[in-house]
Symmetry: C2
Subunit: 351 residues, 2 copies
DNA sequence: TCTGGTTTTGCACACGTGTGCATAATATCG
DNA sequence: CGATATTATGCACACGTGTGCAAAACCAGA
């Protein structure tokens, strides 16, 4: 059915190996013969079989990409960056979403191996160590993005979540907040730990303490989890005047949760997100968030992996590489000074 | 590097063809030999090469999936449905996003052909006819979702956008709205045409007319386009009391656009979306929308394609198939009766 | 033990492509 | 024209897997 090299060879009266060489631009084939062959290939709409080529060359020209969830806009933008860089280099993506499910992870690992992708980019901070081990043992070049077990892999991209979280938290402190809560995502692994670390560090640097119940984790990344989390925090005897959310997805749910208990954001309570996904500019009020260079994260990861692939294996020197990309605080309308009632209470407590 | 069938043959002292047969469960190989071979394969972590198998069998066990945009939550959920059904049948997905860009479309077509995917699901209503033709000519079994050129393909899944749009529009009419605008997405092809058709049909059935400027199209699917579109409509001398948006993404931007000119939704103006993506429950106010069975759309498309693949080619009878899935109106808080001022104006106009 | 039937396994080939090495064709020089 | 060097091409093999057909092994009956 599809045109093969043999079909072209028959039409042009040369051997299949000459066709192969001509199409690949081998200088050993004459210009005249090459032209004839290429014209025939063009007329016959020849497209190489990826499988045959892959089998012969031991290269698939495909990069595996593993994300936590395909419907999280954060990952969509990272994938966009990966795709742009990959396409530029003639690679295609084989994408899979792990959904934080070990069974899915195992199927994904198997798929990557069977398809013999040229390398793998893992954009799931909580990808299981066991499956990661399997990929490593198989010999894949691997680049991880914000992976909690990054020390097991030698090529990593990080977004600086500690710094980002510190900036968000400092912003709230500078606004006058003293009761600041953190809402995390327990499925998220390293990412939430970094953001929590930054949160704590900034509060500590400001000489503030955090009540234990001000650090609350939900088990997912959906706005509904954000809403559930806000319910918990807002029910506290002394509720926070600000909530630092693990990310925009949770923050969007927190906004709704505040509305449902009659709290006005930011007049009564400030809410911040993280990531600056598309929707965070369109919430009411628009979210103060930490703007991650999502596409850059993706394209840096892809470039790093492509560099690894371009390196002659014999020349390979063990040289771990770690790239840290920084974002920037984006102040919108979901954060403001705490309500006066909260400040006056604070004063009376001190007397 | 990876274990091959030849490695297992060497260890078990049989030929590679016996290994192949045993692993495939061929009854011609004895139970005893099969067990030995399978144990060795297990111990040696054998995984077949997808390329070799594909080359030999002329089947890749991969379904191509083309979506308009990977960061649109609507498509993410469709893909999720596709993925579930495909995985159940032992298939993997090779996904690509066309971004309404002909150059990308061409690269995608080429990729599908080179990889010899077993079939293709097109979830892009505006996928170019020329590229679609190429896929058809190549002999791919193809299932299209809401494709504007669906008559060129024989296997289609539709979501009933005419009916959905009629329901949304009727809902607004029943609330008392008489000045209803439609905000469309000119890149969207058939989908926006259907939704506009339903909008017009329902207004006509209610004996209402639509000023020309009440039908406005923006050139994209981002909330920013929704905001731009709202700016246009709200500037009209006689602005609408309700806006039917092509989808939730645009509606989210329209909500912000209304806020920016001091309009309260739904007290001053009603806004409806379409699709019921995750975020539409978390907007302020939560969007009235048309809830599409997104995952069902995906899984039906995959099942249809898998059925096509399971059919013996010699038994194939030309039998076009078209599945129409219906959604349901989801009334939330973005729609309400028009403001009294708009109704009183209407009365005086009639006198 | 021999013959025939059944079961099990291996040989040979091939899917489409790439490439080392040998051979054929061409060009140049004496 | 013949010899030598250079250029261009083809042969043969192989990547890993699957399968038709032949051969080998096994079993049962006369």
């Amino acid at each position: 059915m599809p045109t093969t090299i043999k079909d072209i060879a028959k039409r042009t009266g040369v051997s299949h190996s000459t066709v192969s060489r001509a199409l690949r631009g081998d200088p050993l084939i004459s210009f005249e013969t090459t032209s004839r062959i290429r014209q025939a290939a063009n007329e016959m709409a020849y497209l190489p079989s990826a499988a045959a080529r892959s089998l012969k060359t031991n290269r698939s020209q495909v990069l595996g990409v593993i994300v936590s969830s395909i419907d999280d806009p954060f990952f969509s933008e990272i994938v966009f960056g990966i795709e742009e860089a990959a396409q530029e280099a003639g690679y295609r993506l084989f994408m899979a979403a792990s959904q934080h499910d070990p069974a899915r992870e195992q199927k994904i690992v198997q798929a990557m191996m069977e398809h013999r992708t040229d390398g793998v980019i893992i954009c799931s901070s909580s990808f299981s160590p066991n499956q990661g081990r399997q990929l490593l043992d198989y010999g894949f070049p691997i680049v991880v993005v914000n992976h909690q077990g990054a020390e097991n892999f030698h090529y990593s991209i990080f977004h600086d979540d500690v710094d980002g979280s510190r900036q968000v938290t400092r912003h709230l402190i500078e606004l006058g907040h003293r009761r600041i809560a953190y809402l995390g995502n327990s499925l998220s692994g390293r990412t939430t730990l970094d953001r929590l670390t930054g949160f704590k560090a900034e509060l500590q640097a400001a000489g503030l303490t955090v009540p234990l119940e001000y650090i609350h984790h939900v088990a997912g990344n959906d706005p509904q989890f954000g809403m559930d989390g806000s319910k918990f925090l807002l029910k506290l005897e002394l509720p926070p005047t600000a909530i630092v959310c693990f990310n925009d997805m949770l923050a969007i749910g927190v906004l709704k949760g505040c509305r449902e208990v009659g709290l006005n954001v930011p007049d009564d309570i400030s809410v911040t997100g993280f990531d600056n996904i598309t929707f965070s500019a369109y919430t009411h009020p628009p979210l103060t968030t930490f703007d991650q260079p999502k596409q850059s994260i993706g394209s840096e990861a892809a470039r790093l992996l492509l560099d690894l692939l371009d390196t002659n294996p014999d020349d390979k020197v063990f040289q771990p590489k770690e790239i840290i990309l920084k974002g920037r605080l984006l102040v919108r309308n979901s954060s403001a000074a705490p309500p006066l009632s909260a400040i006056s209470k604070k004063v009376s407590t001190r007397n």
